[in-house]
Each structure stands twice: as C-alpha cells, then as structure tokens.
Assembly symmetry: C2
Amino acid sequence: MKAENMGTIKIVDTTLRDGSHAMSHQFNEEMISKIVKGLDEANVYAIEVSHGDGMGGSSLQYGFSLLSDSEMLEVAKPNIEQSRLAILLLPGIGTRDDLKIAAEHGVRMARIATHCTEADISEQHIGLAKNLGMEVACFLMMAHMVSPEKLLEQALLMQSYGADVVYIVDSAGALLPSGVKERVKKLCEGLKIQVGFHGHNNLGLAIANSLVAVDSGASYIDGTLRGLGAGSGNAQIEVLVAVFEKSGYSSGVNFYSIMDTAEKVLEPFMKRPQVIKNDSLMLGYAGVYSSFLLHTLRAAQKYQLDPRDIIVEIGKQKIVGGQEDIIINVAYDLYKKMNKK
Amino acid sequence: MKAENMGTIKIVDTTLRDGSHAMSHQFNEEMISKIVKGLDEANVYAIEVSHGDGMGGSSLQYGFSLLSDSEMLEVAKPNIEQSRLAILLLPGIGTRDDLKIAAEHGVRMARIATHCTEADISEQHIGLAKNLGMEVACFLMMAHMVSPEKLLEQALLMQSYGADVVYIVDSAGALLPSGVKERVKKLCEGLKIQVGFHGHNNLGLAIANSLVAVDSGASYIDGTLRGLGAGSGNAQIEVLVAVFEKSGYSSGVNFYSIMDTAEKVLEPFMKRPQVIKNDSLMLGYAGVYSSFLLHTLRAAQKYQLDPRDIIVEIGKQKIVGGQEDIIINVAYDLYKKMNKK
C-alpha cells in the first residue's frame, strides 16, 4: 500500500469556494463566468464552486450568498471545456440532496469535508457521491491538531467509504513544513488512494508547505487566484504553478494563462489585498480557527485582556469549532490567573 | 572549520533600507524615528538605515532620497537603546568616506554588498569597517546565479578580508528551499564565520527559505515590517518571529511588540499592500533582478513581444546588473526567432 504522486500534480482551484469568504459570499454571475472561463483556459484540474462553507452554507450563521449553489453551478457550467466542476460539502451543513443537485449540474468531483477526528460522519455522503459517478476527494480539516497516526486512522476510514483522495487541510495555516512532511508521508505510506494538501498562508508558508507536500508524495494541491481567502488567504495558485514548474513537476496548467486570469480577471473584483495581518498571524501561530476571532475580541474587551493571550490559550486547549461558548470561560480563567500574580 | 547557529538567531530589520524601495526612498523624520523606536523596543538584533541602494545611493540613477544618509542616521540614533544601528554599502555606489560618516553616527554594523561573483571589490571596505570597530556582514547578491561551490569561494574571500558574517542574498527571490539549503550548508561547512540569509518573496518562499536557512545552519536572518520592499517585498519580519518561535529557535525579539510595530507604526505609512503580482512573480521565476523590468517592458513594446518571454530569456542568459543595454538585443533575437517559425 503506497500512494504516489507520479510526478504529476492535479491543481484544484477553490477561488469560487474558499475565496468566497473574502468576498462575503457575494460572487455575482459576471465574476463566476469570467473566473471559471479563465481557470478552464489555464487548464486547472478542477474548479470548485460553492458557498464558502460548502453547499447549503448560505444562511444567517455562515453568511448568505448572493447566488444559491444551484445558480452558481448553472453560471459556471457552460464556461467549462476541459476542467472538471467541483463542489464542497460539509456533512451537517450540506445534505445528500445537495449532492444530487450537484450531479444534475454536471459536477464531476465532490469534496466532502469533516473535522480531522470526525471522518465517520462522511460515510453516507461519500457513498452517494460515488454512486452519482463523481470523483470523491475528502478533507480532514484542522489537520495540525492531531498526530500523523491519528490522521491516517481517519483517512483509512474515508478510504474504506470509497474516497479517491484524502486531503490534509491546514485550515488554520498552522502547520510548519516539517509538520506537513510527516503527515503527508504517513498518509502516502498507509493509503492506497491519492493524498492532497490544502494550505493557508497565516504563517507565510502556504506555497512552501504545498511544495513540501508534493515532495513528500501528495498529488492534489489546492490554491486560489491571488491567494483569495479568509484572513491571510490560501496558497496563491499562479505562484504554485511557477514554483512547481521551477521544481520540475508538471501540472498541465498554463503559467501565463493562470497569471493573466489572476491579474486581469480576479484582481479587479477583490475587495482588499491578500496580506498577512496580525489577527491571521496569531491564528496561525496558535493554531486556532478563524471563526473564533470575533468571540475572542468580545471576551478580551469584557475582561480587559490582550486578545492574543486568549488565542494562544484556545490553541493550547485545542478547542474546536462549535465550542465557541468556551472562549468566555477561557478568558475568565486567564483574567483570574493574571490578577492573582 | 564549521559555522553554526547555536540555536539562536540574530534578526536584522531592513525596513528602513530595503523597504525604502517601496517608499521611493521618501522616508521622513517622523517615519524613521517611530519605526526605529518600535524595532528597538521589540529588540531586533540590528536596524539597517540607508538609501535603498546603500549609502551614497541617493542620485538620479537610483532615485533621490528625501533625507541624506547622514540625516537618516541622525534621526535614528537617539531612538535606539538596545539594538545596533547598521548601514548598507555597495562598493562603487558608496565610498570609504561613507563608512567614516557611519561610524561617526554610532553605526555598529556595516553590511558590505557585492554581486555574488565580485567579492574581491569589497576588501578595502571590509578592512576599513573593521578598523572603525564595526561588526561587518557581507552580502553575496543574486546568489541563485552561481553554484554553492562558487559561492563558498567568494565567501572565503570575504572571510579572509575580515568579515564577521557572510549573507546569501536571494535578490531576485528566485531560490527554492532546496537551493537555499545546499548553499547555506556549503558555506557553514567551509567557513569559520557566521552565515546569514536575506530573502525576497517573489515566489512566496521568503519565510520558508529563511526557516530552511536556519535549519541548515544560518544564524543571521533579514526581514522587514509587513515585508516592505521592492516588488513582492522581503521576508515579513513579524511572521519570521512567529515561525522561528513556533520552530523552537530563540531570537530575543518580542513577538507582540514587533507585530504592533508592523501594524500600528509601519502600516499607516505604506503606499501599497505588499503582494505578489505577475511582474515580480516572473522575475523570481526567471531569476532576474528587478531593475531590468522597465527596460524589458520597453523592448517588448518595440518588438511586440510578451515581456515575460524576454524575462525568461534574460534569466537563461544570466545577464547581470549593469548589462541593461543587452536587453534590447535579447528582444531582437527573440523577435527574429519567433518570426522564423
């Protein structure tokens, strides 16, 4: 059992899904059609189009998108000639019906994402996506929080459910290159299926981590045009293409064409430049998911603390999404500890 | 003979020197005093203050700076309590008199820079700086252009002239982590003095390359607040501090304090965000120095070529600074070749 990348990389663009966070989920028809057309011409392997939190994410909790998932896919489809259309689905946010809708819209790749310790909730969705004839890539999110061994255990579950690829997803941009290397190697050694990597740039390491992932055996790599994404953003896809080409890996993506799409198509639509500010840097440093930021700022104000101290503490306690209520307790404990000194 | 980093890194800030390119060399007194104060409080090892092209750079050719080197150093000095004040000097642009001026202004570290094959022009400057009691760090610029062996040969010259440190300077942001590793290892094995690394972010690798450099034995690392610098900029210093701390290296720099200096002091002065655009990406991809860009655009227009093809060709032919006139010939040859097909 050994997964290998064969020297060829499948580059997946997620500008119109993960990048959506940086656009407050307000991609319109013009943006979607132009971006998809540019990406398809550049010949990326797959183009992911969904609400930032996956199909079904448009809601009060995650933010309403301008267009529904169906509408976005409908706009995207006719602009594709060679790439495959992909969607993201988080079981619990999206449903099996969403997968059927995706299939009806010509989606050929389903990406099913769970927290890195909860692969077991993806079984039915993986099965259905396979039955619908789609390639299935599975995400183990916040992958820095668990050991390579635990990650492999979870990836093996996804493999047993029928996944074609398992991604190590560095949701908080918290992995160092050494951490990426050991995780990718572990999965490549233990799986029969392919391994992918999805990086974020909180520590300025998204490109290097993607390169380390490929050097270690990964074959699916995610990026976004200009690095568009929440906080400090994703791996900048045109930079990925340059670095892979310079490193001797072939991806089939046209370098000039993806650069043009980034600069001439995406950039004019951007609301703000994709840089590393202190908030994102702290999240990467502490290994904390971005949805905790607002709660942290509130708790810091209440107890007159430096929000950075709270973020470090949340990271240490390995608090996960859904446990946002605990933040106020963390802040209170920190406040007591500091006033004791 | 073996240089080692002992696990402690000396972080040198060059916001007020290399960052000056991104400010068209227009740093004023308020900016200099506030930035120096913030960097000193954060306890960086050294603070470099000079024209972007080093002392004596203020000219029609390199761009006039708002304040002279003397004036900048005079403003900087009283704001320093713990860091050491540094200057950059390129023999040929700066003179030995500039070194004396620097010493008079309390500069404790001279950084003497040459092209990676021209170490021999630095002998007198290194000698004088040592005689003036300064720590001397030497730069081998455009270090991607030569082999590790050639680089060591040049570094040995600088060591023999009295240098305390030799830096591998990735001026074009063209080195991959593997290229940094082999160069740093070679120098660490062959030198008795310390090794440094100065990265640029054209390929999104400035942070990772700095980490690889330290992992390979380098002990002096350069960065700038928010990555301020020409094109895609330098290694972002507050991100460097985070990554080194997370990797278990100590630098003595206060993480919160350097973050605050980046966001509250430097950022409001910035003219544009520090991102990777296509021009800079191409320069890093091809390994070409940024001063060639304007000439390339002109030549491309003249012969109706894609400037990217010219940049790739300049990189292949290893044309160096001072040979800008050759660009028009490169373009003409490319034009002939393309119209033959």
